[in-house]
């Protein structure tokens, strides 16, 4: 019986149990902490595709200060950013650039489609130079409707994104 207890298989079981407990103890809080960090530190890339950029700019102004949520809009380089807010209509000339920007950003990255034009093409759905929505180009996390969406709507969109990040599994 003693032999059985000290056999290598049992030791392996013990070790795996131990590592299981360790992983259980570390993974959940670590994932929670990193997700918490991602939730409160969303830096959008400076890519303006159309007229919604006016409202996007207004959202960082004193009245709708999005820095409250940890969103800083002043980043120049897309390498430091983790959020694209597609600000309105995406034309056929802009579409390859949008995809290029998305590809160059580091993981994890999120996309908010802001405005009716970014969602479906909106008012310009029958124009010859406008894409019917950006979800054919980049994977969209949150759709923010409106033409243009008010800054409050945009803030609500980012809060929905935060909810989504909280629920997501960390890689």
């Amino acid at each position: 019986m003693k032999k059985e207890l000290l056999s290598p298989t049992n030791f392996n079981v013990l070790a795996s149990k131990l590592s299981d407990v360790l992983v259980k103890a570390l993974d959940a809080p670590l994932g929670y902490a990193i997700n918490w960090g991602r939730v409160w530190s969303l830096w959008p890339v400076h890519l303006e595709t159309a007229c919604c950029s006016v409202e996007f700019g207004a959202a960082s102004g004193p009245r709708y200060d999005v820095e409250r949520f940890g969103i800083i809009e002043a980043f120049g380089s897309l390498r430091q950013c983790d959020l694209i807010v597609v600000q309105g209509t995406v034309t056929r000339k802009m579409a390859p650039r949008l995809r290029m920007v998305y590809d160059q950003m580091p993981e994890p990255k999120y996309v908010i489609a802001m405005g009716a034009c970014a969602i479906t093409g909106g008012l310009y759905i029958d124009s010859y130079n406008v894409l019917p929505g950006v979800d054919g180009i980049v994977p969209v996390d949150v759709y923010v409707p409106g033409c243009p969406p008010r800054p409050e709507t945009l803030i609500q969109g980012t809060m929905l994104l935060q909810e989504k990040i909280k629920r997501s599994k960390i890689r």
């Binding site: 992983v23 820095e67 940890g70 380089s77």
Partner: protein
């Protein structure tokens, strides 16, 4: 195997922790402790204050904390503690973190906003933690065609260089990592590495905007190095030493040097803004012109490290300003002789580690440093970015001349017998 973060519950977390502690205790008791005792049997134990450091002492100090004091005091005297904790890295990093947070709130208030608010419930106090955690978990992109060795090494070198400057800064009498006789000279020697790192990094990025940013950094830092050194030189003339601790002591003997050398202090302030690439002089990172300057290709923790390094540098230069012009740790004695009256019989022996003068010095030094840091943050809210030709012109022509003017003033003070050994104003 790994549980989903979605199911994260505090109860489960505690249970798993207790399990973990249980297993650790079992293993330590069964394996660790016997092993330690076997080793200790053969190894000669260190002696502190005539008392042999045995494992029993540690166990005793749980019940009688006073007995651990000599050990802690020895620990405080080691270089490792100084490098890692108090005047060294941890202290500087804490001040840097506080600086970033204060900068964001201060700037927001100046712009009629509130700044970070929700991360960490109370006024967004954990905003920096969130940013740090996110940057830690971010992917790091190495541009194709880049010089990988330099690209990886540069951020570490940047932080290390910034920390090396911090090592030379005395925070209180005796509290300095490297108390060398050419302290001031060494500070400038180390500061000279920063443009090199910026240029190397920008070249290694294999991209156009970083390259322009790196060249700008080189131009700017070289243009401001000379007025920077010249403005500190007049302090050296007045104090007669290059040792930073002695510089402070000579100010304690007379008056703060900012009263004699206001122009030098101004030149030093402007030059340190330029050294730090802060806003009127943030040409190497000018967003609207060259995307993010030499930081364009940085991502994830590389960016985080560079930011940390630059804010540690901010602390170092602010502390240098305090030491050179604001009398260092000099200040009225406001701390009482004993922090807890009759603490000799108290269970927690803070009183014996507490030294009146040191606490006072650290307090005043930190306070003044924060004051100078606030002064360095201020231009970001009220000033646009300067252009490179104006900047170079300012550095090479105006500031050097100003620094020379005050150097002559310093010389006149020395030879006029006002300051210096046996001077009029020397107490």
């Amino acid at each position: 195997m790994a549980s989903h973060p979605q199911d994260f519950r505090f109860g489960g977390f505690v249970v798993s922790l207790i399990w973990l502690i249980f297993w650790i205790l079992v293993i330590v008791a069964l394996v660790g402790l016997p092993l330690i005792f076997i080793i200790l049997f053969y190894v000669p134990l260190p002696e502190v204050d005539g008392e042999v450091l045995t494992p029993y002492l540690f166990l005793t100090s749980i019940l009688y904390p006073q007995s651990a004091i000599p050990v802690i005091e020895t620990l405080l005297d080691t270089t490792l503690f100084k490098v890692a904790v108090f005047p060294g890295f941890t202290y500087a990093a804490l001040i840097a973190a506080a600086t970033i947070f204060i900068e964001r709130k201060f700037l927001a208030k100046m712009q009629l906003r509130v700044g970070p608010l929700y991360a960490g419930k109370i006024e967004g106090i954990l905003q920096l933690l969130a940013d740090g955690l996110k940057l830690l978990s971010k992917e790091i992109i190495i541009p194709s065609g880049s010089d990988k060795l330099i690209f990886w090494a540069a951020p570490i070198a940047f932080v290390a260089t910034a920390a090396a400057v911090v090592a030379l800064i005395p925070a209180a009498p005796g509290w300095v990592v490297a108390d060398i006789d050419v302290g001031l000279l060494a500070v400038f020697a180390i500061l000279g590495f920063f443009p090199l790192i910026a240029l190397l990094f920008s070249w290694a990025s294999n991209s156009k905007y970083p390259f322009i940013g790196g060249l700008r950094a080189l131009h700017q830092l070289i243009a401001f190095e000379i007025p920077f050194i010249l403005s500190a030189l007049s302090v050296v003339i007045l104090s007669g030493t290059l040792n930073l601790t002695e510089v402070v002591e000579s100010q304690i003997q007379s008056y703060w040097f900012i009263f004699f050398l206001p122009i030098s202090a101004f030149v030093f302030y402007i030059s340190s803004l330029a050294e730090l690439e802060r806003i009127p002089f943030d040409l190497p990172e000018a967003e609207a012109e060259i995307v993010a300057g030499w930081l364009t290709e940085t991502s994830g923790m590389i960016y985080g490290l560079l930011q940390l390094g630059s804010y540690i540098k901010t602390y170092a230069l602010a502390a240098l300003f305090v030491i050179l012009f604001l009398g260092g740790w000099a200040g009225p004695q406001i701390f009482p002789a004993e922090i807890i009256p009759e603490s000799t019989e108290a269970v927690i022996p803070v009183g014996e580690l507490y030294e009146q003068t040191d606490a006072n010095a650290v307090f005043w030094f930190t306070l003044k440093t924060f004051g100078v840091i606030m002064l360095m943050l201020l231009p970001r809210g009220i000033s646009p970015r300067i252009r490179i030709d104006i900047l170079l012109h300012t550095g090479w022509y105006k500031l050097i001349v100003l620094a020379f003017i005050n150097m002559f003033v310093a010389l006149a003070l020395i030879y006029g017998g006002v300051l210096g050994p046996g001077g009029l104003l020397v107490r």
